[in-house]
């Protein structure tokens, strides 16, 4: 069996919602059935085989080739299997994803991993704003799983995040971890202003001392044994995070304007 491959025929003029094309929704369907699936694009609906050349038969491992940033909701709500994207992805990559794996060889737009519950997303390029954040009107962002970003992330990464792990090897924009409820975000690069703004609980792990606002307070330098467990859990990740091997940190706690039980740990 070869991977079920969707090759974008021509660069899309309008954004296309790819949420029907997940391994669990396509399981057991023939290529003809799959080709007839209608995809929402703006005000119109397009047949899948109008948009993509379809080949292969293993719906458990889906590949999108020639993909670009007009393709939204890739892996939305997926419950199993693996999606590999070559090119780029639009907004809402892995939206409310339940399980499985998404590998993106390229950049993603805003709201990647929004409402994600479990599974693994590896974005090998950069990602836009609101990574792992709550959808409009929702009060909780990402609820579980792991997101690994090899490049940079935009603003508001982890906004209202409830649980799970986001690891960013590059830089993040402003308001990272704003209104964060719990979970863990690790950042190896630079952080923007207002890091942890309104953060309620949760852990931020950074390598460089950030500029912090007044309601995040220094709690001193500590050797924390739980970091051993955390770094052990990173060991299998294809990432620079798997190399971290020290548990001495400067601990800042906040945001005191919003309960103040969150923490920003700066590796020493």
């Amino acid at each position: 069996m070869s991977a079920l491959t969707f090759t974008l025929k021509s660069p899309a003029q309008q954004r296309i919602d790819l949420s029907p094309l997940t391994p669990d929704k396509l399981a057991g369907k023939s290529i003809a059935d799959i080709g007839a699936i209608l995809l929402q694009s703006g005000k119109t609906k397009l047949r899948t085989d109008e948009v993509f050349a379809i080949s292969g038969d293993d719906s458990n491992g889906i590949v999108f080739d020639n993909a670009n940033h007009k393709l939204d909701y890739i892996g939305s709500g997926m419950k199993s299997g693996k999606i590999t994207i070559n090119g780029g992805a639009g907004s809402y990559l892995g939206f409310q994803m339940k399980k499985g794996e998404i590998i993106l060889n390229g950049d993603a737009d805003a709201f990647a991993a929004s409402g994600m519950a479990d599974g693994f997303i590896h974005i090998k390029g950069n990602v836009g704003d609101f990574l792992g954040a709550a959808y409009f009107g929702e009060r909780k962002g990402m609820k579980g799983g792991t997101v690994l970003v090899t490049g940079n992330a935009g603003e508001r990464a982890g906004d209202q995040m409830r649980r799970g792990l986001i690891l960013i090897e590059g830089n993040v924009g402003a308001y990272c971890a704003s209104r964060m409820l719990a979970g863990t975000i690790g950042i190896l690069g630079n952080t923007g202003e207002y890091l942890g703004y309104g953060m309620r609980r949760g852990t931020l792990l950074v390598t460089k001392t950030p500029d912090l606002h007044a309601t995040i307070q220094d709690c001193g330098t500590h050797t924390l044994p739980f970091l051993n467990l955390m770094f052990k859990s990173f060991a299998a990740l294809p990432s620079k995070f798997s190399k971290i091997n020290q548990n001495r940190v400067q601990r800042y706690a906040g945001d005191l304007a919003n309960d103040g039980k969150g923490e920003i740990l700066v590796l020493q």
Binding site: R201, H222, P225, L229, M230, E263
Partner: protein, 315 residues
């Protein structure tokens, strides 16, 4: 059956179903892991008055433990799950939460047919008064509780399984020092067996009991048939040359673990042999009607397959 001049009685040890759990205690170094573990397994020789029977199973090197620090594993057994859960929580709270640098982790996650999750640090977290922090790694939840030395780290739960308690054998010798020397040799050998503990002081118990008493309020009393000073006035089980009897009690996670430990212990005692005053090995039972597990000494001593203690280790 006679091994090296030591008679193995044609009898069996009678054991009971218990609930067992394992906890891994780590600390800055082994000294402090032992301080916590010794406290947690203190006053835990017999369920009759201690609630649980507990002991240190073995030392663990830094690369075996979850947090990469040296530690020890503890086994804890009780007659019912409610008692075990209560004792685990109170002992963890008073002995590990309090011990500098110590942390506690689950010791049973897989490998047994039926594993019940029981609370480890789940309720102790409230000591943190709202400052406690939950972290989930690899599907397991951990709690970080701020304490005066830094943070107390504990896993939320550990596994409880159906296990076996009360395996035993008796060593009958010509003198008290010889009986004790044989027991020490047996315990030394049995400590190498995984999944078992010998809960009494130094692993050895001298006050074996029988069911009932002349005093109506007592449910158990001294086993006069094996008391050497009563040889002439009671229905004794001892021949004239026996001057001292000691017992080793074994609790194990499975029946097989106890069989292996019994074999290793008796073999070590018999290695001293008749020339060192070791005359007989027997076992305690209640006629076979009370406990579902019967450990027949002669069967165990003739079963070579029990020498495989664990991968790469033989008796």
């Amino acid at each position: 059956m006679i091994i090296n001049g030591v008679t193995i009685d044609d009898t069996f040890a009678e054991a009971f179903g218990m609930r067992g759990t394992r906890v891994i205690i780590t600390a800055q170094n082994l000294k402090w892991a032992y301080n916590a573990a010794n406290a947690m397994t203190g006053f835990a020789t017999s369920v009759i008055a201690c609630g649980v029977e507990a002991g240190i199973e073995r030392e663990m090197s830094a690369n075996e433990t979850p947090d990469g620090r040296p530690g020890v594993s503890i086994l804890m057994f009780a007659m019912g799950s409610a008692v075990l859960m209560k004792q685990l929580e109170t002992r963890l709270g008073q002995c590990v939460l309090t011990c500098p640098t110590a942390a506690a982790f689950s010791g049973i996650d897989s490998g047994y047919p039926e594993i019940t999750k029981i609370n480890l640090g789940k309720n102790l977290r409230f000591f943190g008064d709202g400052f406690q922090i939950s972290k989930k790694f690899g599907g397991k939840r951990f709690w970080r509780v701020p304490v005066m030395d830094g943070e107390f780290l504990t896993e939320e739960s550990t596994g409880m399984i159906r296990s076996v308690g009360g395996g035993n054998f008796l060593i009958l010798a010509e003198s008290q020092p010889q009986a004790l020397a044989a027991c020490e040799a047996a315990i030394e050998a049995m400590k190498k067996i995984p999944n078992v503990i010998m809960p009494f002081p130094g692993g050895v118990v001298r006050s074996g009991s029988k069911v009932g008493s002349k005093y109506k309020t007592l449910i158990a009393s001294t086993n006069d048939a094996f008391c050497p000073t009563l040889k002439g006035i009671t229905n004794t089980q001892l021949s004239p040359e026996i001057e001292s009897v000691m017992e080793i009690v074994i609790d194990g996670l499975t029946e097989l673990d106890i069989r292996k430990a019994t074999r290793a212990g008796i073999a070590a005692a018999c290695a001293l042999g008749a020339e060192n005053g070791i005359k007989r090995v027997s076992a305690g039972n209640y006629g076979g009607k009370l406990g579902p597990y019967h450990f027949k000494l002669r069967d165990i001593m003739s079963d070579e397959s029990l020498n495989d203690i664990a991968p790469g280790v033989t008796a």
